[in-house]
Subunit: 216 residues, 2 copies
DNA sequence: CCCGTAGCCTACTGGTGAGTAGGTCCTGGA
DNA sequence: TCCAGGACCTACTCACCAGTAGGCTACGGG
């Protein structure tokens, strides 16, 4: 066994394109999430992926394209995770709860994906943030729809729900980041904090009558 | 009058160091906020500042130092603006309201500062984010303190206020960004949306019994 | 057995931008 | 009047890294 073979992605040879593309994307997400878009070098990505640089260019294109591909893949996973968590048959108030839980579950399980999406993609101007903002927009719309559905199910007209959705999404992002630094807090707890804050408000929280999810 | 003289900062000569440093910082904030840390070039900053590159190095040091100096200055201004807005004699619930308003006022007036702080500084790892996170931490502590004060003034023990503060700060950041794209909404309105969300919760919002600030 | 093609590499180039060497010129004090 | 030092500049160097030229090898079909 040579020295090389004990290194990271045991440099297997002649894999089908599909597989290589996945390996490259995985490596790219890792490296981008660690160093940020600009400080990530294509050389490092190629090394982590166990592939030479020209392969990346051949399969995924230029650095921007590669980054965009990462964003697209991870953002799609996130949005799908949330949408999948929201079960349509549940009562509207519960749907928000399920969405929140799905969100935090995703963040807990895919920290690197989350870092890339939240920290990196947001801060780069240009084509990415459009891509990403589109996804964020979809998330916000999803939340917005939940809010509206809740409100109308209570028979009340709503206003400024978009802004509420934006605030809620922002609170979620911020809390998710905080959670990364406090991993001992269980996912359900974080989710219920946010649900309480957002549904009952601090005023009620302070009164001690907080909203508690039904046991599952 | 030469061609050069009609350009941006009418290239005045032999100004005292103090003044130059301010000009350079102003330029740096503009350029960083526009292009982001990495895409901002020292050459462009020097051009916008109306000064040659070596001056920047002589006065503010390397690119990292310069960026850190921007962060420090702007973050201090922001925190001071909020702290100044929170009037100590007001009742605790009102202090939160005043803090929110001061925050949104700052964002509205200092868009570039806000962009640098929120978008850029957060996403760069390393020394900056420490600097910035320190400031963000101070903001969170400030909010946390307000929450605790509110709660105890109601005679209720509190828990997980730190997480609440984090969520609230995140909601504020997100809403501030949204506001940048919807400048026609008055500052007071945005602030009251967030106050409502956070104080009464969506549940009450939906009931139509929202919290309305007293006219000033 | 030969050749097309798909997987894969080493070894380069060229641009960009951080950082600097080495000066000039002006002002104010001795 | 002279000189110290601070304001200020032009014109570089040099490293890093995105992106590429030009190959080589293994497999499958004819």
């Amino acid at each position: 066994m040579s020295v090389d073979e004990q290194r990271r992605p045991a440099r297997v040879k002649r894999l089908p394109r599909e597989v290589r593309e996945r390996q490259i994307l995985d490596a790219a997400v890792r490296v981008f999430s660690e160093h940020g878009y600009h400080n990530a070098s294509m050389d490092e990505i190629s090394e982590v992926a166990g592939v030479s640089k020209p392969m990346i260019y051949a399969y995924l294109g230029h650095k921007e394209d590669l980054f965009a591909a990462c964003i697209r893949r991870e953002a799609t996973l996130l949005v799908e995770a949330i949408a999948g968590g929201v079960r349509a048959e549940a009562p509207p108030d519960m749907q928000l709860w399920h969405g929140l839980r799905a969100f935090f579950r995703f963040v807990g399980e895919q920290r690197e994906s989350w870092r890339v999406l939240h920290r990196q993609a947001t801060s780069q101007g240009g084509p990415f943030s459009e891509e990403l903002m589109g996804m964020r927009g979809r998330a916000i719309n999803l939340v917005d729809a939940l809010l509206v559905r809740s409100a109308t199910s209570h028979g009340v007209p709503t206003k400024s729900t978009e802004a509420m959705a934006v605030a809620l999404v922002g609170a979620g992002e911020s809390l998710a980041d905080w959670w990364l630094d406090h991993p001992d807090v269980p996912e359900k707890t974080v989710a219920s904090w946010l649900m309480n804050l957002v549904w009952m408000g601090l005023g009620d929280l302070v009164d001690g009558t907080s909203w508690v999810p039904t046991p599952e």
